[in-house]
C-alpha cells in the first residue's frame, strides 16, 4: 500500500537504520560544500568596495544565522507534530535539534559582534535584530534546561514542546526585524532572487556555505537522533520486561 512508507517513518528501528545509512552521504556532501565555500569566500571572492576584506565574515556569519533560524523552525515544527499527533520520534527530532541550534546561534552572535565592531563601531547594541537573536539563544537554552530538569521523558517532551512552539513567534520577528524597525543591521542581500545584490563571485561561495551548513545539520541531526532512539527504546523494553515479570 502507498501508506506503508508513512507508517515506517514512525517506526524507531526503521528510522535508526535509515539514519545510519544516510549519515555518511550528508556528512561528505557538507564537507565538500563547506571546504569549497571557504576557498571561494576567502580566496576567490574579491574584497567588497566599501567593507574591504572585512565583508568575508559574511561567509561564516550568514550561514550560522541561517542555522539558528532553520534549526529552531525544525525543532518547533517537530515538537508541534509530537504534541498534536503524539509521535515519539518527532519529540526525539526536536530534542536533537536544540544543542545544534544553540551553538550556531552563539556563533552568529559572536561573528556578528566582531563584524559590527568594525562597521558600526560597537560590539553590541540593543538593536531589534541583535536583541531578538539573543532571545533565540535564551529560548534554546531554556528548552535544553527544561528538558534536563525533568526525569520523566514524556513530561519533558511535552513541556519542552510547548516552549518550542510558543517560541517560534520569535523567528519571523528576527527575520523581519531589519525591515520593520530602524536597525543597524543591513537588510537581506541573498533572499531576493529577482535582483541579487552581489556579483556571482561573492554569491556562489555564500550559497555553498548556506547549503553546506544545512546538509551538515542533517548529518548531525541523524547521528543525534540515533542516540535519542537508543535511549528511548531502552526505556521502552525495560518497561515491557517489568510488566511481564
Amino acid at each position: 500500500m502507498a501508506w506503508t512508507w508513512f507508517h515506517r517513518l514512525g517506526s524507531p528501528p526503521y528510522i535508526y537504520g535509515l539514519a545510519a545509512r544516510l549519515t555518511p552521504w550528508f556528512a561528505w556532501l557538507a564537507a565538500v560544500l563547506i571546504i569549497g565555500g571557504l576557498y571561494g569566500g576567502l580566496v576567490l571572492a574579491p574584497p567588497d568596495y566599501q567593507q574591504g576584506d572585512d565583508f568575508r565574515i559574511i561567509y561564516v556569519h550568514a550561514p550560522s544565522a541561517w542555522m539558528s533560524l532553520m534549526v529552531y523552525s525544525t525543532m518547533a515544527i517537530s515538537a508541534g507534530v509530537g504534541l498534536i499527533w503524539r509521535i515519539k520520534i518527532a519529540h526525539a527530532v526536536a530534542a536533537s535539534c536544540a544543542p545544534i541550534g544553540a551553538s550556531f546561534t552563539f556563533a552568529a552572535l559572536v561573528t556578528g559582534s566582531l563584524w559590527g565592531e568594525r562597521m558600526w563601531g560597537t560590539y553590541w547594541e540593543w538593536d531589534p535584530r541583535l536583541t531578538s537573536e539573543l532571545i533565540l539563544l535564551f529560548l534554546y537554552l531554556g528548552y535544553m534546561g527544561l528538558r534536563s530538569a525533568m526525569d520523566d521523558m514524556q513530561r519533558a517532551d511535552r513541556a519542552s514542546a510547548v516552549l518550542a512552539v510558543v517560541g517560534i513567534v520569535n523567528v519571523p520577528i528576527i527575520h523581519y526585524s531589519v525591515l520593520w524597525w530602524n536597525s543597524l543591521h543591513q537588510a537581506p542581500s541573498v533572499m531576493q532572487l529577482a535582483k541579487p545584490t552581489m556579483p556571482p563571485s561573492m554569491l556562489i561561495p555564500l550559497l555553498m556555505m548556506l547549503f553546506g551548513f544545512t546538509v551538515l545539520f542533517v548529518a548531525l541531526l541523524l547521528v543525534r537522533l540515533r542516540a535519542e532512539i537508543l535511549n528511548r527504546e531502552r526505556a521502552a523494553s525495560w518497561i515491557r520486561e517489568a510488566v511481564t515479570q
Binding site: G52, D53, R56, V60, H61, S64, S103, W115, L220, A227
Partner: protein
C-alpha cells in the same frame, strides 16, 4: 601569503570569526559522535545485564 593572512587590515576580526565558526562545527561533530557512542554503550550494557538476570 602574508597579504592573505593580513586580510586588508581586518585580520583581528576575520580570523577569529572563522576560527570560532569552524570550532563550533568541530565541537558539534565531536558532541554528536560522543553522544551516540555513549548511548550505544549504555544500551549494550543494559542488554548484557538483562541477559545475566534471565
Amino acid at each position: 601569503m602574508s597579504e592573505f593572512l593580513n586580510m586588508g587590515g581586518y585580520a583581528a576580526y576575520v580570523w577569529p570569526s572563522y576560527g570560532l565558526t569552524l570550532g563550533v562545527i568541530v565541537l558539534n561533530i565531536v558532541w554528536a559522535r560522543r553522544l551516540l557512542a555513549k548511548s550505544r554503550e549504555d544500551a549494550r550494557r543494559r542488554i548484557e545485564m538483562r541477559g545475566e538476570q534471565a
